[in-house]
Symmetry: C2
DNA sequence: TTGTAGGCGTTATCAG
DNA sequence: CTGATAACGCCTACAA
């Protein structure tokens, strides 16, 4: 009696087996009667229809071979006829695999995150994976909670610009494959673009245009990405013999950019690089609102080349960071890791480049005429109201 | 022997029960020895440590009550000590619930999708759900495949601007709760903003500024959203006694907007509404590149108010559609449906409004001076290179 | 090649 | 309130 019900089912299968296979061709309509309505067909149903044992169905459908061609075909026909789809939980319970990977981005609110999401999402679809998404709102605890929740249900995890400790990341990575974007963590595969190249180009261009002192507007001071970029800026400036000062913003957003405008003016620089485009947007708005002309009086160079960078006035010069590539690259890497097909090359090389637009250019001390100044004020006001 | 192993395990629990509870306090270190390293603790382990039956652990931990306070505390201590986390697959296998819901957006590439994703994502996190995301690349088959894949692993599904048939949607909805965004489907809960209000405001503003003939640039002709918006435009124009012509774009993107510029000029209108902001961006660029002045010679009104709409020159007048609200509203609705706590109000009312910026205004036949024309050409060229 | 007999970790339904 | 036990659907030694 212990396995009574199971036995009954199997017997049932045995009985129907002949009835069905006798006809050989199996009209879909008759199949539905076996399991009409609600719950999905199981391998037991398929086995019943195909007249074989459930385990044979499992073998046939999980492509592990070891099934005769005839049986295979029979089972496949029955499966499609019943519209059978293996229950992923039952499978996961046994195999631990879900065909799902997670992506946690630092800020679900930033357009920069979106590019990463897109890259990872497209790759997921292409590789027949499901993408689980979460944002950490730039909070370490939220991020950890999200990561842990995900770890239970995914095959692997991508952390984009994470704010948690290196050790936390490594702990996660011990459990399941983890790929980090935009940050280097020892012992964990990372996809981080080579930002020095783009920054070098930017600084060189500024130097060539006669600038001698530039400011770097950092994001949150503890952000590894911001730190990395600032160091690269310093190095490039040193090489090009430019003075570089660092200004901290309250937040790495458009508003943060607006707020840092005063500091920028006070610093007396003729050019400013920002740690991301959002900051540049806000900074440029505020500077223009104050009557300054970009790039005549001050050059602005952003970072990332997010959507919209080409639409500002003037269009924003920026260091393009191929974030979509980062997303898809990380996803590809993770999936390869998962399938044991990781290329020897490992982490793909992703390179940044300067996108020269209108917001940066030659130093010119040209003062604005009163009329022009007035016009700019009006424009700025309009823009602010927008 | 049939259930031999089970019996052994249970006996094992019984044996250890005394040994452990004798000490009362249970040092974490000693617990680890029970299940060190790899695989996670199970309710059997917890039961063993707490000295109770696994089913009691299940009851205690799934908050279904019916457990004495003392036992509850004992079990919780054991669980945290062992760092126990219920295996979601095993749970799902039995309950069918995963605390995950799916979101399928029409186009992972569009900034408009992002707002929806953000809204849904934030709501998911807040309600302790995992969000599974997929894009359909505006393809019916891709969308259906994604939907089916998801259906197997989620508790419910949100379809944002889906392109599949109403019937397909209803079929999905028979299986699990489905909420549709941006489209009305009979018998399925839908979150669709009231676009007529915003459009009415836009048309009225155009009429008040002396325009008499406007064009509407549609997205893909079969897109329900585009159709709905065109109908609303027609209705409003009729009311305001404006002529309205419809122009079709190849694709609802910036490029599509550029390509439709010629048709717009040929149509001889003085104002144009586009089915989304992307189209407006491209259209404005192209028109300006051809030397036209916005809004002096032509007014442009977009739709959605996506990120970046405030950064163009002139800033884009647009009908704001609160897409993030749609995303969070749909998620909230879905989750409430899932928990049987759906409000009687049902679908939240979401309303659009005109955001008046610089790209629309009074009709003026003012011709450009040659110098001004030249300047605009240069600016447009710069913008294009950007 | 195919069938048998568990087991994966939980929940739910019974008895007690 | 607690314990025993049968599902849930699939996978996989092992046996035949």
């Amino acid at each position: 009696m212990v396995l009574g019900q199971d036995t009954i089912v199997v017997n049932g299968a045995g009985q129907r087996q002949n009835a069905v296979t006798a006809g050989q061709s199996v009209p879909a309509a008759s199949m539905n009667s076996a399991r009409n309505g609600k719950s999905n067909a199981t391998i037991y149903d398929v086995a019943m229809v195909a007249g074989v044992n459930p385990s044979t169905v499992s073998r046939a459908l999980s492509k592990s071979g070891r099934v005769s061609a005839r049986t295979q075909k029979l089972i496949e026909a029955a499966a499609t006829g019943l519209n059978f789809h293996a229950n992923p939980f039952a499978r996961a319970l046994h195999t631990g695999r879900t065909n799902t990977f997670g992506l946690i981005v630092a800020d679900l609110t930033s357009p920069a995150s979106f590019d990463i999401i897109r890259g990872a999402g497209i790759t997921a679809t292409v590789r027949n994976y499901t993408l689980a998404l979460a944002g950490s709102a730039d909070s370490t605890v939220t991020e950890l909670i999200a990561a842990r929740r995900m770890m239970a249900t995914v095959d692997g995890l991508i952390l984009a610009s994470p704010c948690m400790d290196d050790d936390d990341i490594r702990t996660l990575a011990r459990d399941k494959p983890v790929v980090v974007i935009n940050r280097e963590v020892d012992g964990v595969p990372c996809v981080v673009p080579d930002e020095s190249k783009g920054i070098r180009e930017a600084v060189r261009s500024l130097a060539a245009n006669g600038h001698t002192k530039v400011a770097f507007v950092a994001g949150p001071p503890q952000s590894p990405m911001s730190i990395r970029r600032w160091e690269a800026v310093q190095a490039s400036c040193e090489f090009s013999r430019l003075d570089a000062v660092r200004l901290d913003s309250s937040r790495p957003t458009v508003d943060g950019g607006r707020q840092v405008a005063q500091d920028v003016r006070a610093s007396g620089v003729t050019a400013v690089l920002t740690s991301n485009d959002l900051l540049a947007f806000g900074l440029m708005q505020e500077l223009q609102a104050a009557g300054m002309v970009v790039p005549d009086e001050i050059s602005i160079v952003g970072f990332d080349d997010i959507f919209g960078a080409g639409f500002t006035t003037p269009p924003l010069t920026t260091v393009r960071s191929p974030r979509e590539e980062c997303g898809s690259g990380a996803a590809t890497l993770l999936l390869d890791l998962l399938h044991g097909t990781a290329l020897s090359s490992g982490v793909p090389t992703i390179v940044t480049e300067l996108v020269q637009r209108g917001s940066s250019g030659r130093v010119s001390a040209r003062k604005m005429s009163p009329a022009r100044c007035r016009r700019h004020e009006i424009e700025a006001e309009l823009r602010r109201r927008a």
